[in-house]
C-alpha cells in the first residue's frame, strides 16, 4: 500500500480545488505555494466572466475552507526541489524559504507594516501601489499572517520591537524538508506575458498603457484606487479606453504562437465592468478573432455589444503613440477594408497572454517531467492530467492556457485520478474533525448579531453601510451590529466567532451577498463557535440590492434596512434544528457510455467502489467512435478500444447496454434508480454523461442534402478510409452554431476543420482548401495548427452572420459565393466537395426527462446546467448528482476526460463517507393539532409523509408522520395544512410571517425598541 497523502504544488484555484477534493476524499494534502499566501491570480481579479461574479467573493469561501481544513497542510514560501521514488511512494524534497515572521504567532494586527519605514512595490496590485517591507498580500490572505520582504528590509528592528506577540524572526532561515506522498498534482499556474517585450505598444514608456491585470486591480475595490478607474498619468477619470488583444499571444515573432484562450473573454469582462463603474466611458476592443467558445460566452459578448455599448474592432494595431501634452495614447490600426485609421484614447489596456511560469523549467526538473517547446507541461489528449512521469499530475494553466472552470475541472479531475491511484491508502493519514458541543440556546432570549458587509465596494459604494449598521442596532433583539470590508474573509470568520462568544450571541445575521453561495460558510463559522448552524440568516443586499440599484443609493440603503429588519425578525424566531445523518450506499451510477461516462466509471472503480454504467445504445464509445485521430495525431480508436476493454473487464463495473433510466427515487447517499430493463440500482452518487449529438442541417441549409455536400465528420472518415478525392474543398463553419436557433459556439468545429484541412494538404498538395468562418476559434495550443494551415496554403475567408456563403448547383456544378471583405467584392468558388462544420446540439427531449428524474436544471440550449459556472463546473445544485462531457456543453475529448475524472472525484466525496448529514430544514408535525386529514400526504412529491396511529395527549389518533430522510424541505405540506399542524423547520409560518410583518413596520414602531 502506498502513501495516503498527496502533494499539491501551487495554491491558485486549481491547487485549492485539488486540495479540497483530495482531503475531503480521505487523502492528506500538503499544499505548497512559493508565495506567502495561497489564492493565485484569481485573488487578484475583480470579477469573473460570464457571470460577473465578484472573484474574491466566490474564491474566498474556498480559501477559508482550505485554510481551516484539518487535512490540508498549507506550506507557504515553499518550492519543490526534488522528487524521488515512484507513484504511490514519492519522497518530495521541499525548500521552505524564510518568511521572517512566525505564522503561528502572527495575529495580522498590521502594526509591523504601519511602523515599517521601507516602501516596496505592491505586487498584488501589480505595482500600481506600494506596500511596506513587512506586508500581507491581500486582506483575505490564507494563512492570514504577515511576511517580510527581505530584499527591501533594512533590518531596522522597528517591527520586531513593536510586534505584540513577538512574531518577527530576523534570523529565519530557509529550511529543507522531506515529505512522503503517494502522488503529486502540479498546479503552478501561469505568468502573464511581460508586455514591455513588445516595445511598439509603449508599455513601460507610456504611463497610460496598462496590462489587463493592472486594469483588473484598478477596477477592484481592494485595488490602488478603490475601484475608481483613473489614469495613472494624472489621476483623471478615464473617458475612452481601448483594449488591444493578443499581446503576447498568436505571435510567432516573440515565440508565443499559441492562443491564450481567455483574453477575449476577460477583455470583454473588463469592458463590461468598466461600463458599470463609469457608464459614459467609451470602450473599444481591437481583436483578431473573438474566441467566445465556452458555455454561454457568445451571449456574454452579445450583452457587451448590445447592452454595454462595447465596440469591437477587428484589426491588428500597428502603432501606438503618445501625445506628450495630453498623455493620450493614439492607436493606428488596419480596418476591415485594409485602410489605416488612427484614434486617440485616454487609456490603453494590453490584453496580455498567459505563459508558463518562469519557474516552470526548474519545477519540471525537480518533478522529473517533460515540457513542450513553450514550457507547458506535456500531456496527451487521452490523459490530460498525466505528465510524462506516472504519479505526477498537472492541473490548470500549466499544461495550456485555460480559464477558471476548466482549471477547476482539471484539478478535480486530477484529484479523481489520484484517488484511483492511491486506492486503499485513502483514509489512512487523515484526521477527523471534532466540533465544539452545541450551546443550548432554547431558553435564552434572542441575541442577534448583525454583520453588514461592504463587499469591497460592491455594496459599500451604493448602500450606506454604516447607516445600515446603526439602524440594525435599533432593532429588537439585536445585541450587536458591525460592518466588515469582506465578511467572508478568513479573519472575519475568526472575528465573528469571537464576537459570538463575547456578546453571547445566539443568532447571527449576515447582510451581504447571496445565501446561495455564502450561507454554508457562515453556517460552519457559527457552528465552530458552538451555535447550531440553523441559527443563521442572511440579508441579500448585494445581488438583490446594490447591484441592481446602482444609481439609487438612498433607496438602496432604505431597501437594505428593510432586508436587514426582515432578516433579524426571522432570525429572532429561528430555532436550533437537529442534525440528521443519512446512510450512504457505496455505489455509483454513471449514465452514458461515451468516453466521459467510461472515464468516470473507471476512475470510481479504481478507487474501489462498485459502479453501474448505463448506455442507451448497444455499444460503448459515444461520439469518440467517429474520431480517427486527434489534432496532434493520436490514434483515437486505439485509445477507445483500450478504454472499453478496461471498463468491460473491471470487476467493479457493471455495464447495462440498451438501457435507460426510467424511475428515480431517493437522494444523495441513497438513490434508487429503476432502469428500463427492470434492474433496480441502489447507489449513493449519480453521474450524468449522456453526451450530445451532431447537428443535422436542414435539407436546404447549404444544399446539405447534395451528395457532394458532406459533414466534417464524413470528411474525416473518407480521409481515413482513403476514398477522399477532390481538387477544391470548401469548408463552411458554424453550421448549426451561433445562430438564432443555437446561439452558442460548438467549440470544436474550427479545430476539426483545420485538422482535416491539414490532413488534405499533407496528402494532396494540390487540393485547394477554403475555410469560410466567422471567428476562427482554435484556442490555446490549437492555434499552432491554424498557423500551420495558413502556412500550408489553406485559404481562410471570413463572413458575418447574415451574409453567410451561398451554396448552389449551377449547371450541375457546385458553386459557393462569399463576400470577401478584404477586396470588397463577392468571390465565387466551384468546389467538388463542400464540408459543413456541423455543430453540437443537446438532446433536449431526453435531457429534459433525465433532468426531471434527477431534479437538475437545463440551460436554454438544452444542455445540463451546472451548479456554478465558475467554481462548480461538474456539480449540480442537487447533491450527489454530477455532470461531465458533452451533456454539459460542447467540448474536446481531453476536456471531457478531465471533467469525467472530476465527477469521479466529486462522487468519491460522497462514497467515501459512511454517513452524510441531511438537511435539518424539514417538515415537522404538531401532533396535538394534526387531525390526519392527509392533504400533506397528497401534496408531498417525495412520499415523505404517512398517516400513522399515534397516542397523543392520551388519545389514539391518526396523524401525519414525516420521514426525515425523504423530506426535501420544500414546504408544500406546510402551506397545504389548514391548521398549521405541519410546518417547515427553518421556514415556519411564524418565521415567515414575523419577517414580513416587521417589514411593514414604520420608524415609529421601531424607535424605542432597545436592543437586548
Amino acid at each position: 500500500m502506498g502513501k495516503g497523502a498527496a502533494l499539491v504544488i501551487g495554491g491558485g484555484i486549481a491547487g485549492i480545488q485539488a486540495a479540497l477534493d483530495l482531503s475531503d476524499g480521505g487523502i492528506k494534502v500538503y499544499l505548497i505555494d512559493s508565495k506567502p499566501t495561497i489564492g493565485g491570480v484569481m485573488a487578484q481579479l475583480d470579477k469573473t466572466f460570464p457571470t460577473n461574479d465578484c472573484s474574491m467573493c466566490i474564491l474566498s469561501p474556498k480559501l477559508v475552507d482550505t485554510g481551516r481544513h484539518m487535512n490540508v497542510e498549507i506550506i507557504t514560501n515553499t518550492e519543490l526541489v526534488g522528487l524521488e521514488g515512484s507513484a504511490g511512494n514519492f519522497i518530495a524534497k521541499l525548500r521552505k524559504h524564510a518568511r521572517y515572521i512566525d505564522i503561528e504567532a502572527c495575529t495580522a494586527c498590521n502594526l509591523c507594516a504601519v511602523h515599517c519605514p521601507v516602501s516596496a512595490i505592491d505586487s498584488y496590485n501589480e505595482g500600481l501601489s506600494e506596500r511596506r517591507a513587512a506586508y500581507i498580500s491581500y486582506p483575505q490572505s490564507v494563512p492570514l499572517a504577515y511576511a517580510i520582504d527581505k530584499d527591501k528590509c533594512i533590518g531596522c528592528g522597528l517591527c520586531a520591537n513593536i510586534c505584540p506577540p513577538n512574531a518577527v524572526r530576523y534570523n529565519d532561515k530557509d529550511q529543507d524538508t522531506r515529505i512522503e506522498v503517494g502522488a503529486v498534482i502540479s498546479a503552478p499556474g501561469f505568468d502573464e506575458f511581460h508586455a514591455a517585450l513588445l516595445s511598439e505598444y509603449g508599455y513601460g514608456r507610456y504611463p497610460n498603457v496598462l496590462t489587463s491585470i493592472e486594469f483588473e486591480r484598478l477596477m477592484s475595490s481592494s485595488g490602488p484606487t478603490a475601484g475608481h478607474i483613473l489614469r495613472p498619468s494624472d489621476g483623471k477619470e478615464v473617458g475612452k479606453v481601448a483594449w488591444i488583444q493578443c499581446v503576447g499571444s498568436r505571435d510567432r515573432h516573440i515565440s508565443r504562437p499559441y492562443c491564450s484562450s481567455v483574453c477575449c473573454m476577460y477583455a470583454t469582462k473588463e469592458a463590461i465592468i468598466a461600463a458599470e463603474h463609469a457608464p459614459d466611458m467609451q470602450k473599444t476592443i481591437f481583436y483578431m478573432d473573438i474566441r467566445a467558445y465556452g458555455k454561454d460566452f457568445d451571449k456574454y459578448i452579445d450583452r457587451a455589444k448590445n447592452q454595454f455599448g462595447v465596440r469591437y474592432v477587428r484589426g491588428r494595431v500597428a502603432k501606438v503613440t503618445e501625445d506628450p501634452e495630453t498623455r493620450e495614447v493614439s492607436l493606428t490600426y488596419e480596418t476591415d477594408n485594409g485602410r489605416l485609421a488612427t484614434e486617440a484614447f485616454d487609456m490603453v489596456v494590453l490584453s496580455v497572454g498567459l505563459e508558463p511560469p518562469k519557474s516552470s523549467e526548474k519545477l519540471a526538473r525537480a518533478l522529473g517531467i517533460e515540457l513542450d517547446e513553450y514550457g507547458f507541461v506535456k500531456t496527451s489528449t487521452f490523459a490530460p492530467m498525466l505528465t510524462s512521469r506516472y504519479g505526477v499530475f498537472v492541473a490548470g494553466a500549466a499544461s495550456s492556457p485555460k480559464d477558471i472552470p476548466e482549471s477547476v475541472a482539471q484539478a478535480s479531475g486530477a484529484a479523481g485520478v489520484v484517488q484511483g491511484l492511491l486506492g486503499e491508502a485513502r483514509n489512512t493519514e487523515v484526521k477527523v474533525k471534532h466540533l465544539p458541543l452545541e450551546r443550548d440556546v432554547f431558553t435564552e432570549p434572542p441575541r442577534v448579531g448583525v454583520f453588514v458587509c461592504h463587499c469591497g465596494i460592491n455594496i459599500g459604494s451604493v448602500v450606506n453601510v454604516p447607516e445600515v449598521v446603526a439602524y440594525a442596532k435599533t432593532l429588537p433583539n439585536v445585541a450587536f451590529a458591525t460592518e466588515n470590508l469582506y465578511t467572508c474573509s478568513s479573519d472575519t470568520q475568526e472575528k465573528i466567532k469571537e464576537i459570538i462568544e463575547q456578546f453571547r450571541l445566539n443568532r447571527v445575521v449576515v447582510s451581504a451577498c447571496t445565501p446561495r453561495t455564502h450561507e454554508p460558510l457562515f453556517q460552519s463559522t457559527i457552528r465552530e463557535a458552538g451555535l447550531n448552524k440553523y441559527l443563521f440568516e442572511m440579508a441579500n443586499i448585494r445581488d438583490q440590492d446594490s447591484w441592481v440599484h446602482m444609481h439609487e443609493p438612498e433607496k438602496a440603503t432604505e431597501k437594505a434596512k428593510d432586508l436587514v429588519r426582515m432578516a433579524v425578525a426571522k432570525a429572532s424566531r429561528l430555532k436550533a434544528l437537529p442534525n440528521i445523518e443519512l446512510p450512504v450506499t457505496k455505489r455509483a451510477l454513471v449514465i452514458g457510455g461515451g468516453v466521459a461516462g467510461m472515464t468516470a466509471a473507471k476512475t470510481i472503480a479504481q478507487a474501489g467502489f462498485e459502479t453501474v454504467l448505463v448506455e442507451k445504445s448497444d455499444h460503448l464509445g459515444g461520439n469518440l467512435r467517429h474520431l480517427t485521430k486527434t489534432l496532434v495525431g493520436e490514434d483515437a480508436q486505439a485509445f477507445l478500444a483500450e478504454l472499453i476493454a478496461q471498463v468491460s473487464e473491471d470487476p467493479n463495473i457493471t455495464i447495462f447496454k440498451e438501457t435507460e433510466v426510467s424511475e428515480v427515487e431517493g437522494f444523495v447517499g441513497s438513490f434508487k434508480t429503476t432502469l428500463s430493463n427492470g434492474e433496480i440500482v441502489e447507489h449513493g452518487a449519480t453521474i450524468i454523461a449522456t453526451g450530445a449529438v451532431e447537428y443535422q442541417p436542414k435539407p436546404d441549409e447549404y444544399l446539405s442534402s447534395d451528395p457532394q455536400v458532406i459533414h466534417q465528420r464524413e470528411l474525416e472518415h473518407s480521409l481515413a478510409n482513403g476514398d477522399f478525392k477532390a481538387r477544391t474543398v470548401v469548408m463552411i463553419q458554424c453550421v448549426g452554431s451561433r445562430n438564432t436557433e443555437h446561439p452558442y459556439c460548438s467549440r470544436v468545429c474550427c479545430t476539426d476543420a483545420v485538422k482535416n484541412a491539414l490532413t488534405i494538404k499533407e496528402r494532396f498538395l494540390d487540393t485547394e482548401v477554403i475555410i469560410m468562418f466567422r471567428d476562427l476559434r482554435t484556442y490555446g495550443l490549437k492555434e499552432l495548427a491554424y498557423e500551420k494551415a495558413r502556412e500550408k496554403g489553406v485559404i481562410f475567408l471570413r463572413f458575418d452572420q447574415g451574409s453567410e456563403p451561398v451554396v448552389e448547383r449551377k449547371d450541375g456544378k457546385l458553386s459557393v459565393r462569399i463576400m470577401d471583405e478584404l477586396i470588397g467584392r463577392e468571390v465565387e468558388f466551384s468546389p467538388d466537395l463542400i464540408a459543413l462544420s456541423t455543430g453540437i446540439v443537446a438532446e433536449k427531449e431526453s435531457n429534459k426527462i433525465l433532468a426531471q428524474l434527477y431534479k437538475v436544471p437545463l440551460n436554454e440550449d438544452g444542455f445540463f446546467l451546472e451548479a456554478h459556472m465558475k467554481l462548480r463546473p461538474v456539480d449540480f445544485a442537487t447533491d450527489g448528482v454530477y455532470l461531465c462531457g458533452l451533456a454539459h456543453a460542447p467540448k474536446f475529448t481531453d476536456e471531457a476526460i478531465a471533467q469525467a475524472s472530476a465527477t469521479a472525484a466529486r462522487a468519491l466525496l460522497i462514497l467515501n463517507k459512511d454517513k452524510i448529514e441531511a438537511e435539518g430544514k424539514i417538515a415537522v408535525v404538531n401532533e396535538r393539532t394534526c387531525i390526519g386529514c392527509g392533504y400533506c400526504v397528497e401534496v408531498c412529491s417525495y412520499g415523505a409523509i404517512e398517516l400513522e396511529e399515534k397516542r397523543v395527549l392520551g388519545y389514539e389518533k391518526k396523524i401525519a408522520v414525516v420521514n426525515a430522510a425523504l423530506c426535501k424541505g420544500c414546504g408544500g405540506c406546510a402551506a397545504s395544512c389548514r391548521s398549521n399542524s405541519i410546518d417547515l423547520a427553518g421556514f415556519t409560518n411564524l418565521d415567515l410571517v414575523s419577517a414580513f410583518e416587521q417589514l411593514m413596520w414604520e420608524e415609529d414602531d421601531i424607535m424605542g425598541c432597545c436592543g437586548v
Binding site: L953, E997, W1001, D1004, D1005, I1006, G1008, C1009, C1010
Partner: protein
C-alpha cells in the same frame, strides 16, 4: 310615581336635560335584527320589541375593548373618554343582567374600572313587559316582568299612558323638572304584574344548586353536549355572561392590550400554553356553563346567573334551551348503565 300620556315626554326631557351629546341608547332595528344603539330620535326606538337580539351588556362591557396602549415601557391610557349615557327601555331581565355584571366587576378586592365608569355614568331607564314572549322564563329565576330593581327610572305601561317610577336617586334627579302629575294610586300595577307573570312558562329549579353539585360525574353532561356545536352564540347574547379574554396586539415597540368576550363553550376556553386543556370535552365545558350559572354563582352571590330572558335558546343554531336543561337537571336520574 308620575304619570305620562306619552313616553316621548320622558325621552325628550332626558335628552334635553342631559349634557350635550349624551346618547340615549335603546333598541333599534339594524338590518333585520334589534340592537341597543344610540337613538337619533324617539321614533327610531323599536318600542314593541322586548328583547334585542343582543343584550344591553355591550353598553357597559363592549365586546372588544382597549384597556391601554403602550410604547416600549410606557403605558398610555385608553384614549376613549367615557361619557354619560342613558340606557332607554331596558327590560327587567336585562337590568338584572346588568346587576349580575356589576356584582362581578365591582367586588371589594377587584374593581373593573372600565366597566364601573360606564356603569356609574349610565342612567338606566327600565320598562315593564306587559306581553312577555314565548321562551321568557324570568319568573323561574326569581325575576319578574314588572321588577324595577336596578333601574334608575322605570316605566310601567298602563292602559292610558305610563307610570314612571324612580327607584334611585339618580333617576329621581333625572326626572326633576318634568312637569307632570304625581300619582298615588298604583294598585293596578299589581294586577298587571300577575297577568304578565302568568303568561310566562314556569320551570322548577328548586334545589338545583345542590343537585348540580352532586352531578359532577353524571352522564347528564354528555346528554346536553350531544347536540351542542360549541359556538359562542349563547354566551355572546347572554346579558350576564362576562367572561373575557385578554390579548396584546403589538407592532414593534407599540401596541395595545385589549379584551374580548369569551365563551366557556369554546374549545380553547381553558386551553393552556402547554397544549394541556383541563376541559378537553364539550361535556366538561357544558358542566362548567350550567354549574356556573346555577350552582357556583348562587353559592357566591346568592342568585342565579341566568335572568330568564331566553335569548340563548332563541339564538342557538341547534335550539338548545338552557331552561329546559336546568329543569332536566333537577329531575335527572342517573340511568342504570
Amino acid at each position: 310615581m308620575i304619570k305620562l300620556n306619552e313616553l316621548r315626554q320622558l325621552y325628550d326631557h332626558l335628552s334635553r336635560n342631559t349634557p350635550r351629546n349624551t346618547p340615549i341608547i335603546g333598541l333599534k332595528k339594524e338590518g333585520n335584527r334589534y340592537y341597543y344603539r344610540p337613538l337619533k330620535s324617539y321614533d327610531e326606538w323599536s318600542s314593541d320589541v322586548l328583547l334585542g337580539n343582543f343584550s344591553p351588556k355591550e353598553v357597559f362591557f363592549p365586546q372588544d375593548e382597549v384597556l391601554f396602549y403602550f410604547k416600549a415601557q410606557k403605558l398610555i391610557e385608553s384614549k376613549e373618554e367615557i361619557k354619560p349615557a342613558v340606557l332607554w327601555g331596558v327590560r327587567p331581565c336585562d337590568i338584572a343582567g346588568i346587576g349580575e355584571l356589576e356584582r362581578m366587576f365591582n367586588q371589594i378586592e377587584y374593581k373593573d374600572p372600565y366597566f364601573m365608569e360606564r356603569f356609574d355614568k349610565t342612567l338606566i331607564v327600565g320598562m315593564a313587559c306587559t306581553e312577555p314572549w314565548p321562551g321568557c322564563f324570568c319568573t323561574s329565576v326569581e325575576g319578574s316582568p314588572y321588577e324595577s330593581k336596578g333601574a334608575d327610572i322605570f316605566i310601567y305601561p298602563i292602559e292610558d299612558g305610563y307610570l314612571i317610577e324612580t327607584p334611585s336617586k339618580k333617576g329621581e334627579a333625572a326626572i326633576e323638572g318634568l312637569d307632570v302629575e304625581e300619582v298615588s294610586d298604583v294598585s293596578q300595577l299589581e294586577a298587571d304584574r300577575r297577568r304578565a307573570e302568568d303568561k310566562i312558562k314556569k320551570y322548577n329549579f328548586e334545589g338545583i344548586a345542590d343537585k348540580l353539585k352532586s352531578m359532577v360525574d353524571s352522564n347528564f353532561w354528555d346528554w346536553i353536549h350531544n347536540p351542542c356545536i360549541g359556538c359562542g352564540t349563547c354566551a355572546f347574547v347572554c346579558p350576564s355572561c362576562h367572561c373575557f379574554d385578554i390579548n396584546d396586539s403589538s407592532r414593534g415597540a407599540r401596541g395595545l392590550r385589549s379584551r374580548q368576550w369569551d365563551s366557556c363553550l369554546f374549545e380553547g376556553y381553558t386551553l393552556e400554553t402547554s397544549g394541556h386543556n383541563p376541559r378537553p370535552s364539550g361535556s366538561q365545558r357544558w358542566r362548567q356553563r350550567l354549574m356556573h350559572k346555577f350552582s357556583y354563582f348562587p353559592q357566591v352571590f346568592g342568585s342565579y346567573q341566568c335572568l330568564g330572558c331566553g335569548r340563548c335558546g332563541r339564538a342557538c343554531p341547534v335550539n338548545i334551551n338552557i331552561a329546559e336543561i336546568a329543569a332536566k337537571a333537577v329531575e335527572w336520574v342517573e340511568p342504570q348503565s
